[in-house]
Symmetry: C2
Subunit: 217 residues, 2 copies
DNA sequence: TAATAAATACCAACTGGTCGGTTTGTATAA
DNA sequence: TTATACAAACCGACCAGTTGGTATTTATTA
């Protein structure tokens, strides 16, 4: 139990009684949460600090007490929410399976069923933000590259394990397939958002699942 | 001939000599071009009208003489540039082939070789804009949906023709595969932009070409 | 008291958009 | 051919509102 807590990246729960630190960390977390959702919906540049402090229920002074500027707030908010999502949704399930193709299929299905806390019509946070910020901000860009590499690496490792266990064809390159899996996932969520039509996702998923099956021995 | 001219929506080519109309349409086109590239690079909301008129070499008054507001300018600029690109790159080549899988492979290769006038590190204009504007603007959204449907429809029709001619497996659903082709293309360009690394595209393309080959009889 | 946290008031810069007025090209008519 | 009338094209100062960010003051608690 203690080990589980240690392994998470989530901040240790603040003490229930009011104190200087507790109050401060609550305000800080409220700012992180509000910033993440505002940035998720509006994008970083269009996200308004005034709206963020309104949602967080605090003032400009508080914000600039906890963060030096908008850039730092955005980066902190993104890291606080997005890394955990990829970890829980992709990396952990893939780490303990010998049949990665089935696992990938299951994960994608969960997105389609909207069990991942992501509204497909609003797009994937990773997708939304990396599209906007890559190429204009080095810090965001390198964070996304790292996250992407962890994501792709976890899929590739699982595929290689599948090859060893006989659940995946041995003549495919795990790295290349892993990259295509991530790209397809991103592309499908992107098309759903672009058309505002969930059926597009169903159609693409049908073909994508056929592709996954073609990777079996 | 007259019929052909009537069918196009393009403005009749402006006379070379200077005249009221010629000057006006040149300014208008300069605004459309400047707006498109500014919007392509910055996104619609972050695109600055002041920057657009600076690039176009005209003034606020000119801009608002030709367009009622930023929204109309953006829509006109996008329609002026993006529809033509999809037509030339995808729809026309696919319309006259009986071997669509080879054609698709060739088109994607041209993107990778940067022969399409698109810098992969800056992303695909369709991708960039549809991500930003879908869900927050009905006009942009329906334009993108239409364009997407034409795009997907052209691929599906070519695939069906391939099935009839024996170059494509008969047990696949052209609509679903076409959707996945578009989604994968979008996803791959998206990942290249996100990581700012062209090699990611190479890896994904390798796996994607294997997928295309798996669709042959 | 000392230090942290939060609130208030404010700033310059920039946003999309407006408006009165000027320039430019063309059609008409003497 | 030249003067006149007119409208399209263009200009740039200006508007109200918003942006991210700052300086100062007040409240809270160890």
């Amino acid at each position: 139990m203690a080990e589980n807590l240690e392994r998470t990246n989530l901040p240790v729960a603040a003490p229930v009684h009011d104190g200087r630190l507790a109050r401060g960390s609550r305000t800080r977390q409220a700012l992180l949460d509000a910033a993440f959702f505002e940035i998720y919906e509006q994008g970083f540049r269009s996200a308004s600090l005034n709206e963020i402090i309104r949602k967080a229920g605090c003032t400009k002074g508080s914000l600039y007490h906890h963060f030096p500027d908008k850039h730092a707030l955005g980066l902190a908010a993104v890291a606080d929410h997005m890394g955990a999502h990829i970890d829980q949704t992709w990396i952990e399930p893939l780490a303990r399976t010998d049949d990665p193709l089935t696992s990938i299929r299951l994960i994608i299905k969960r997105y389609a069923n909207e069990e991942q806390g992501i509204d497909p019509l609003r797009g994937c946070p990773f997708q939304n933000l990396s599209q906007e910020m890559s190429g204009i901000d080095k810090d965001f860009q390198s964070y996304f590259t790292d996250l992407f590499n962890r994501w792709r690496g976890a899929i590739a490792a699982a595929l290689a394990r599948g090859q060893a266990k006989g659940t995946v064809r041995k003549d495919i390159d795990p790295e290349c397939v892993a990259t295509l899996v991530v790209a397809s996932h991103q592309g499908i969520t992107s098309m759903i958002k672009a058309t505002q039509d969930r059926n597009v996702g169903q159609a693409a998923a049908t073909a994508f699942f056929d592709y996954l099956d073609s990777l079996r021995p």
